[in-house]
Amino acid sequence: MSKTTIGGAAALLLVLIGLPWFVNPYVLQVLILTIVYSMLGLAFSLTLRVGLPRFDVAAWWGVGAYVTAMLVLKAGVSFWLTIPAAGIVAVILGWVIFKIVIPRGMMVFLLAGMVLTMATQQIFASVPFFGGWGGTDVIPFPTIGPITFADKRAVYFLGLIFLGTNLLVYKVLLESRIGRAWTAIGSSLGLASSVGVNVVRYRMANVLIGNFFIAVAGSYLVASTLVAIPTMFTFTNSINVMMYVVVGGMGYSLTGPIIGALIVTFIPEYLRMAKEYEPIITSAAIILIIIFIPGGVLGLVRNGIKPWLARRLS
């Protein structure tokens, strides 16, 4: 890695760590949400790598959240143990469903994802065990020794750890042999298949790994909200992840979703004063971004701003 990259990374880390002391608690809460959305966006981006747009993100997110909430409330399990549990449940359920769906192709996967999102929301709301539309009871603040995650700053740092781990795992996977197989499938399915890449199996692996981290994001969400309510896991959430990826830049699997999540989550916050017109303005802004900056923000930086800077400085 070059000196500039290390320097840049160090600076970013300093900013991220110092942030909670420079922003008000409300902004911190939005940042926490952005961290969650980033993790969801990363999973969408990961699965896009194998040519599958996944719209089931909110479903597994909900599964993760409910597993955590239910285990803590009904079985008295420590919050920290519920995190891997949530991931594992999402992987097992996902395996059952995707075994049938993935061999049917991209369009079926796309539609099935949407259906899954709606179905899980309905199920969480309708089955009395989960608490119905009102959601689960409130869980106690998670603790590690003396640190209680009642303080938003603690939750924020926890989020950074979750996000960092997620990024690391994805990065390692993407640069491994598995990642190369995924890229092959995504760029040219027929060709990959013809050289012996087991498309279905690699796709399954990709989707299920995504499931794990989506569910973990759900657990983290519960650490922040302390409750799981069906209305938190809507169709809109599943659709929004695609927005993060496109706004951030589709070519950037790891950084794109994070930048995109930041932008898409903060635009409505700055437009709060518009009240009921806000969705209209945000949607219009998104449309304009997609039309005029199709490469996303990161694409603009690399293809537009960097060369411009280079010309200016040379």
Binding site: L48, P53, I100, V101, I102, P103, R104, G105, M106, M107, V108, L110, L111, A112, M114, V115, M118, A119, Q122, I123, S126, I185, L189, S193, V199, V200, R203, I239, M242, M243, V245, V246, M250, E276, Y277, P279, I280, T282, S283, A284, I286, I287, I290, I291, P294
Partner: protein
């Protein structure tokens, strides 16, 4: 269950099915011909309903005019949507275009909520009253919706056999070859958007004498239509038709017994059907793996 209830549930199901069929047909057309996943399909349905409601109730014009108005309005809106928004994202790919339709859907939904929030528009039934067959009472309005939907589908069928309809099908099969044959691809794009939107507009105008126009009717119908497209086989119009009526009837009966859970019931129905007919109802039984 007595015969009367049974038939009424069947009628309800066929009515919903007819609506889903029209919306799904429009959606499949747009998806197949110009490869656009039109997420705002349901909103055109909603706007068509409000349009007819406005024409008939506020302006006092006769109902058939309301249907034509909805058709024309949604036809034009589809064209506008294409030229102002969609055509600029088409070069950037499937996801960009899909995302733009999502954003448009949100925009339209909120805008219509702000405009029509107070109005939940129910139009007077065209042929009020009920039909009585051997002591079984059936709602006239609902039968009219079924009839109307069938008429529209027949018209669509013959439209697809016309010069432009065939051109659309050709473009769907292979755009490049179609262009080589002299088909104007640009025209196909906006015509397809217009027809797809127009179909939804008519669907909206048909349902408005029976069910009042509400703000979320668009998304609700769209969700069911997605299921219909999934079951019927993406790209298959006849499959969508069959699936639509099946979904409508299953939903109708499920609603009678489990109320709100009827949505889960049709999801389950779709899952079972997909398990046995993964290529769709009238599609190939087994697609190429990993496609």
């Amino acid at each position: 269950m007595d015969l009367s209830l049974f038939l009424q549930l069947i009628v309800n199901g066929l009515m919903s099915g007819g609506i889903y069929a029209l919306i799904a047909a429009g959606f499949t057309l747009i998806l197949g011909v110009i490869q656009v996943f039109n997420f705002s399909q349901g909103q055109f349905y909603m706007l068509g309903a409000y349009c007819t409601f406005g024409i008939v109730t506020s302006l006092g014009l006769p109902y058939p005019l309301g249907i034509l108005a909805a058709l024309a309005a949604m036809f034009l809106l589809g064209i506008l949507f294409h030229f102002v928004i969609v055509q600029w994202t088409l070069p950037h790919g499937f996801f960009h275009t899909m995302l733009v339709t999502v954003a448009f859907s949100t925009m339209v939904g909120q805008a219509s909520f702000l405009t029509f929030a107070a109005d939940q528009g129910l139009v007077e039934p065209v042929i009020p009253g009920t039909l009585n067959i051997r002591g079984i009472t059936l709602n006239n309005g609902k039968l009219l919706v079924i009839g109307g939907a069938i008429v529209v589908m027949v018209v669509l069928y013959y439209f697809m056999k016309t010069k432009i309809g065939t051109a659309m099908l050709a473009a769907a099969e292979n755009k490049d070859v179609a262009q080589l044959q002299g088909i104007n691809a640009k025209r196909i794009f906006w015509v397809t958007m217009a027809v797809g939107s127009g179909l939804c507009g008519v669907a909206g105008s048909l349902i408005v004498p029976v069910l009042s126009a509400t703000n979320n009717m668009g998304m609700n119908a769209f969700i069911r239509s997605m299921l219909v497209v999934l079951i019927g086989g993406t790209g298959s119009m006849s499959g969508a038709l069959l699936a639509a009526f099946m979904v409508g009837i299953v939903e109708s009966f499920a609603f009678q017994y489990v109320g709100q859970l009827s949505l889960v019931a049709i999801f389950a129905f779709a899952a079972v059907l997909l398990f046995f007919r993964p290529g769709g109802l009238l599609g190939k039984p087994l697609p190429i793996p990993g496609q």
